[in-house]
């Protein structure tokens, strides 16, 4: 059904435009069900975290954190490249703190602050504004919704963790007089920093999404997360000095993240001692930053999985009860 109205301008019928009111049109196209619904929630989550399609205020915090990390890695890459170019391998060794391990050891804090500020954007407003109800009356279960949001935040976290590492790698490779030789000698750094980045991102995502899922206000979730990062760290610090009580440190998020990072890059103390006996030669510019973990890998793995799985499971169960 259509109505047409002819508008004539200046009395010239040829100049007239035709306006069609096509009325309401029923939709006869494809309906792609849950797959499309999950993808839409995932895409929306990704955009929300980074403030894409929003004003400058929404972009300020996430991009400031990202630029800070990229800026630091650029400085480190420049320092490493400058030392390498001017003084060769000895020069690179003289510039400590330019390793991939070192970059993670302090960027974990920035990553956590990023998560504390950004993760609440994904779950808190939907619950606070009541938008969650609109999701749940669509072909989407509460589990689909929370899994899609979780995956969106994990994607952002992994990207944010890896980006500075790639910048550092590019700087170190390009700073070396023989880039391919550098890559040949240090290629194992790449899987290590990819694994370490994914591990840090997954755990931080799990914890921050749980806090965001339980709080209705973004501010509460952010404060809770910062407290979760800082307070246990301070409480468990004295126990780390006593080898018998080191397990207490596994309740500290910061310690678990830091020690996991050490384990991935530098292995354990026992392995390091064994390696030193077998291979005392120069192993690359990371040597000065190589501090192996003092913890048992089993304990560390158990603690890591506990911090990863428990918050994820609690969040999932919490949302699952919202739909039958």
């Amino acid at each position: 059904m259509s109505d047409a109205t002819t508008a004539k301008a200046g009395g010239d019928p040829k100049a007239g435009g035709v306006v069609f009111d096509i009325r309401y049109q029923r939709y006869g196209g494809p309906r792609e069900g849950r797959r499309r619904a999950r993808l839409a929630v995932y895409k929306d989550g990704f955009r929300k975290v980074l403030g894409l399609g929003r004003g400058a205020r929404a972009k300020l915090l996430p991009w400031a954190c990202i630029l800070l990390m990229v800026g630091i890695s650029t400085v480190l890459a420049s320092m490493a490249g400058f030392g390498q170019r001017t003084l060769g391998d000895v020069g690179a060794e003289m510039v400590p703190g330019t390793s991939h391990y070192f970059l993670y050891s302090f960027s974990i804090t920035i990553l956590f602050v990023f998560a504390a500020l950004m993760a609440p954007r994904l779950l808190c407003p939907d619950r606070r504004n009541g938008t969650l109800h609109l999701y749940l009356v669509r072909p989407l279960t509460a589990s689909d919704y929370v899994q899609a949001r979780w995956a969106a935040f994990l994607t952002v976290m992994v990207s944010v963790a890896w980006l500075p590492q790639f910048v550092l790698l590019a700087g170190r490779v390009l700073g070396h007089p023989e880039p391919l030789a550098y890559l040949d000698a240090n290629w194992t750094d790449i899987p290590k920093f990819l694994l370490a980045g994914a591990a840090v991102a997954a755990m931080v995502t799990a914890v921050s999404m749980l806090a965001s899922g339980l709080a209705t206000r973004r501010g509460y979730a952010s404060v809770l997360l910062i407290a979760l990062f800082v307070v246990p760290n301070a409480v468990t610090a004295p126990f780390a000095l006593n080898p018998q009580l080191q397990w207490v440190s596994m309740f500290s998020l910061g310690d678990v993240l830091g020690e996991t990072n050490k384990l991935i890059f530098n292995g354990t103390e026992q392995a390091a001692e064994a390696g030193a006996q077998v291979e005392p030669a120069f192993r690359g510019p990371d040597d000065m930053d190589s501090v192996p973990t003092q913890f048992s890998p089993r304990l560390l793995l158990a603690a890591y999985l506990g911090w990863l799985i428990a918050p994820g499971a609690i969040l999932w169960m919490y949302y699952r009860r919202l739909t039958p």
């Binding site: 029923r26 494809p30 009541g130």
Partner: protein
């Protein structure tokens, strides 16, 4: 559209009971919804929202069966891609523009991205928000927000839309506009509407059928026309000399009820019109309006009889 073969119903509740701890929200409710606009009428706590949530599959019934478009909605969430829901409470993200929000909601309902964009723009045009579609929804008036809420329920072109108090919080003009949109949703768009309200006037003006819930039970159910049929009462409004007019009617043995708006005269035969005309002439009362009185839905609750005259105000 998938219906129940025997009844042609789009949605059915079969002996549905919903219990929250010690409170029974719905008690063995048997209901079916067919094509058209159905009003769910009831006071707060009557079970309207619970009924809507059960139909949407948001909460399971404690007992009984629920079929929506021939499917069990709790087992098959895909049915919800054919349903729209407009909640009573706030549900809009204030920082997002309406166009973007609707596009997202269409995608979440399963529409591909390009189709979702087109549907979002079309739907906003139909609810009268096309010009404001790129503004953040936090800057909208209450009426505009209600329209966006309706638009998000329609954006994926559902077969049935469930509206929970759609005119709540609107001024009279906004209420009229919203009720017009609700009527348009079925009459022009062909989408079946289930519309809950505690305001009888809204239901009376908008719906084809009505279901009255009281204390979690179905009190009445049927066509609105049945409840608002003409009564055996003539309603007369005069511009002056009302007391003289009433006296003149009583002097002629006519049963009269006096209300705020006018005079209810009992009876419907031809002779009554002559008696009213004579009384008007005798009382020199200028006639403003004379029409058979229709029953109002409010009487379903207040129990006013068919005669329409307020009790104790005279009789034939």
């Amino acid at each position: 559209m998938t219906t129940t073969p025997e009844t042609g119903a789009l949605m059915t509740l079969g002996k549905v009971t919903k219990q929250y701890a010690a409170t029974v929200a719905l008690h063995e409710v048997d209901l079916s919804f067919t094509e058209g606009i159905t009003g769910l009428l009831g006071e707060n706590g009557a079970g309207k929202s619970t009924t809507i949530k059960i139909l949407l599959g948001l909460i399971p019934p404690t007992s009984g069966s629920v079929r929506v478009l021939g499917e069990d909605v709790t087992r098959n969430p895909l049915v919800r891609s054919r349903l729209g829901y407009m909640p009573e409470h706030d549900c809009l993200p204030f920082e997002a523009p309406a166009a973007e929000f609707l596009c997202h909601m269409a995608e979440v309902s399963g529409l591909p991205a390009t189709r979702a964009r087109m549907r979002a723009a079309d739907t906003l045009r139909h609810v009268g928000l096309f010009e404001s579609r790129h503004r953040p929804m936090g800057t909208y008036s209450t009426g505009m927000k209600q329209r966006v809420k309706l638009a998000q329920a329609l954006v994926h072109d559902p077969d049935i839309v469930l509206l929970d108090e759609p005119a709540a919080g609107l001024d009279p003009a906004g209420r009229d506009d919203m009720l017009d949109l609700v009527r348009k949703t079925y009459r022009e768009f062909g989408i079946t509407v289930v519309f809950s309200s505690h305001l009888m006037s809204d239901v009376e003006r908008t719906c084809d059928r009505i279901t009255v819930l009281q204390g979690g039970r179905v009190a009445r159910s049927g066509e609105v026309a049945e409840y608002t049929a003409e009564t055996r009462t003539l309603f007369v409004e005069v511009d002056g000399n009302r007391e003289r007019f009433v006296s003149a009617l009583k002097a002629r043995g006519v049963a009269v009820g006096v209300g705020k708006g006018g005079v209810a005269v009992q009876g419907s035969d031809e002779d009554l019109f002559d008696l009213v005309r004579d009384a008007l002439v005798e009382a020199e009362a200028p006639l403003r309006r004379m029409a058979p009185r229709r029953r109002e839905l409010a009487e379903l609750f207040t129990g006013v009889g068919e005669d329409g005259a307020e009790p104790g105000r005279g009789g034939r």
